[in-house]
């Protein structure tokens, strides 16, 4: 009888062992699937830092600083530099000036708000604004401020473009209907 009991116990243990192992595997797959789904539906989270951002663990979201709105040159410079830094951090210098120039071109176009702050903070206009990257303090040695100044002084590598997008990550279908003027770094610039 003892032998029978032992065999049944062994069978049960083996069966439950298999079940827990299967459950564990299912659990891992489910978590991975959820994570993947979350990453895909949130463009910003397609990277590890983006994912961390999502969980609120990012080291990048620095202090939130308010900016004066209106036509003051010093504050325009700072705001523009932050926007360039948020949007075109790893881009070549010409690309950074180009992003600044696009923002300034928009202030002169009737389809967009008339102030730099208005253009930058227009809901949905820039991903760096929507996900808070604009608030990251400028890293030392960053050329964003210099690029902002050149853009404010009139240099426009885009020859008047109003739009730019990264062809690899752009999700909006509409943006592709814009006339492409040139490509600088990772971005297409268009009118």
């Amino acid at each position: 009888m003892l032998l029978e009991q032992t065999t049944t116990t062994k069978k049960i243990t083996k069966a439950t062992g298999k079940r827990t192992k299967r459950n564990r595997i299912i659990g891992v797959f489910l978590t991975a699937a959820i994570l993947l789904a979350v990453m895909i539906t949130n463009d910003g989270a397609f990277t590890i830092s983006g994912l961390l951002n999502l969980i609120g663990l990012s080291a990048d979201t620095g202090e939130r600083i308010a900016y004066a709105q209106g036509g003051n040159r010093a504050s325009d410079e700072q705001l523009l530099a932050r926007a360039i830094h948020g949007e075109a951090r790893g881009e070549p210098y010409e690309g950074q000036v180009a992003v600044g120039a696009v923002i300034i071109n928009r202030t002169r176009d009737p389809k967009f708000p008339k102030t730099i702050a208005g253009v930058i903070y227009q809901p949905g206009a820039f991903t760096a604004v929507s996900d808070g990257q604009i608030n990251i303090p400028l890293k030392p040695g960053s050329t964003a401020l210099k690029a902002a100044r050149d853009a404010l002084n009139g240099w426009d590598p885009t020859d008047g473009c109003l739009y730019y997008w990264n062809p690899a990550t752009a999700t909006s279908k509409w943006i592709w209907s814009r006339q492409i003027v040139k490509k600088i770094g990772k971005h297409y610039f268009g009118k």
Binding site: T6, T9, K10, T13, T41, N42, G71, R73, Y93, E94, V97, D109, P110, K111, F112, P113, K114, G118, V119, Q122, P123, G124, A125, S130, T143, L145, K146, R149, D150, N153, G154, W155, D156, P157, D159, G160, S172, W174, Q179, V181, K182, K183, K191
Partner: protein, 475 residues
């Protein structure tokens, strides 16, 4: 054999024993309470986060609603004021009504830009409001000068008024839907539920798109406002010469920097958009690392350098601004731009950006603008911008001024102390040019530039010079 079975069974039993023991410990009251507390704490945290998010959402919704309702209010005002301006009898009265219309159109457009509707959907509405504003502004100036509306302008106002009526109507429809709760801003702005956004909010986007389509057929307004469509494709006057090919453009690039300096010139493609088509290049220099290069853009017509930007770090400031101005002037002379004088400069990041204007017969011509950026460590030119010059430069037929300098001086506010005077041609908001007297003066310890029209003595513009430690910048 029995022995072996027994030990194996013991081992298995050992693991199972341990598991059971753990389960037993878990059932123990203390463990139980700890687990319950942990679960309860997570629940509370979760609920408070959710509530916090809901509060923020509500605040955001409120902002959007505020912007929306304000916009509707201003649009309705614009409609009424446009109507009024067609009825008023005297130019002065028309002027003040149009001024109000301009202010309201501006405010409507500002609030429009705060709505969470994607930009392309609202582009035409924004354009309409801007154009209404500009027209009102331009006509206002005209009326203030005592000139009443012409019949053409009256018709334009009528057309705009009709468009304003239909915009107002569509917005009121939209407002009804919002108030009845059929649409929520949150759905539009919610990035966390993009699927939801795509389906249910499509309704609202469609509404806005419908409004926007009304304005796609806005007739090209024939006035000279700054945002007139027809001025976007203005023919660049300074773009002289014949079409060149990329090889010739490459030559121009080498000439621009100097053959000895240039290590390599890489083709970066061409830009074929109006009004100025260009070839683009990237230039590497001798004895300069690969990560410092210059971008340069050469016009397809005439091979002029449209702009150049050399991103090299400038770490110290050895030259004073006077020497920098000299370096800039020498550069312009040696590159075929003669007759340029410096007008304003800005010192930043150890470089000086100097604005040069063309001077003809003692008249400073501001529209013919070239900007030169000089590095203050060795006087090297690290930036060049000539779009203004290429757009506007031509040899002008400048008439003699119709009023004398004394007469012009008399028009200036007597409280201002005049320091110097001269003649100038200045650009207007409407892309035309005016021939003026330029007076630099002081009032309340602030510097001003006053421009008096040399043909009719009207005060055309007043610029306040802001002396910052970075240089002389005007606003």
């Amino acid at each position: 054999m029995n022995l072996r079975l027994m030990t194996r069974r013991d081992g298995l039993l050992g693991i199972r024993e341990k598991l059971l023991d753990f389960k037993r410990r878990l059932s123990d009251r203390k463990m139980y309470s700890i687990v319950v507390v942990v679960i309860a704490a997570s629940l509370i945290w979760g609920i408070s986060q959710y509530k916090h998010a809901a509060d923020l959402r509500q605040e955001l919704d409120n902002q959007y609603n505020r912007a929306f309702y304000e916009m509707i209010g201003y649009v309705n005002n614009v409609e009424v004021l446009l109507l009024k301006s067609m009825i008023t009898s005297t130019p002065e009265r028309t002027a003040s009504v149009l001024q109000e219309a301009w202010r309201n159109a501006n405010l409507a457009q500002t609030n429009l830009g705060q709505l969470p509707v994607s930009q392309p959907v609202l582009a035409n509405t924004s354009k309409f409001l801007t154009q209404v504003g500009d027209l009102a502004y331009a006509l206002n100036n005209q009326n203030m000068g005592g000139k009443p509306l012409s019949s053409e302008q009256f018709e334009t106002l009528e057309r705009l008024h009709n468009l304003a009526i239909s915009l107002g109507k569509s917005l009121n429809d939209l407002q009804n839907q919002l108030s009845s709760g059929r649409i929520k801003w949150g759905e539009l702005a919610d990035k966390g539920t993009p699927l939801f956004r795509k389906t249910s909010s499509k309704l609202q986007l469609e509404q806005f798109e419908k409004i926007d389509k009304t304005f796609q057929d806005t007739p090209k307004l024939i006035y000279d406002g700054p945002f007139s469509d027809h001025l976007v494709t203005i023919e660049p006057r300074g773009l002289t010469g014949n079409e060149i090919n990329p090889e010739q453009a490459r030559q121009k690039v080498v000439e621009f920097f100097g053959k000895d300096k240039v290590r390599s010139v890489t083709d970066e493609g061409k830009t074929d958009t109006e009004p100025i088509k260009t070839y683009n290049f990237k230039v590497l220099f001798n004895n300069v690392p690969d990560d410092q290069w210059a971008s340069i853009s050469v016009t397809q017509k005439g091979g002029h350098i449209l702009w150049m930007l050399y991103n090299r770090p400038v770490d110290e400031e050895k030259l004073d601004v006077q020497k920098a101005k000299e370096a800039g002037r020498k550069f312009l002379e040696s590159h075929g731009y003669s007759g340029m004088v410096d007008t304003y400069y800005l010192k930043e990041d150890n470089t000086a950006t100097i604005n040069y204007a063309y001077k003809q017969d003692n008249v400073v011509i501001y529209p013919d603008l070239i900007k030169v950026k000089v590095a203050l460590d060795d006087g090297e030119v690290v930036g060049f911008e000539s779009k203004g010059y290429l757009s506007a430069h031509t040899v002008r037929n400048i008439p003699a001024p119709k009023i004398s300098e004394e007469e012009a001086r008399a028009k200036i506010n007597p409280r201002m102390q005049i320091l110097s005077s001269g003649l100038a041609i200045i650009p207007t908001n409407y892309k035309t040019e005016l021939f003026t007297y330029e007076f630099k003066g002081k009032l309340n310890n602030r510097d001003f530039l006053v421009y008096i029209n040399a043909e009719n003595g009207k005060e055309e513009n007043i610029l306040m010079i802001i002396d910052t430690p970075n240089g002389i910048l005007t606003m």
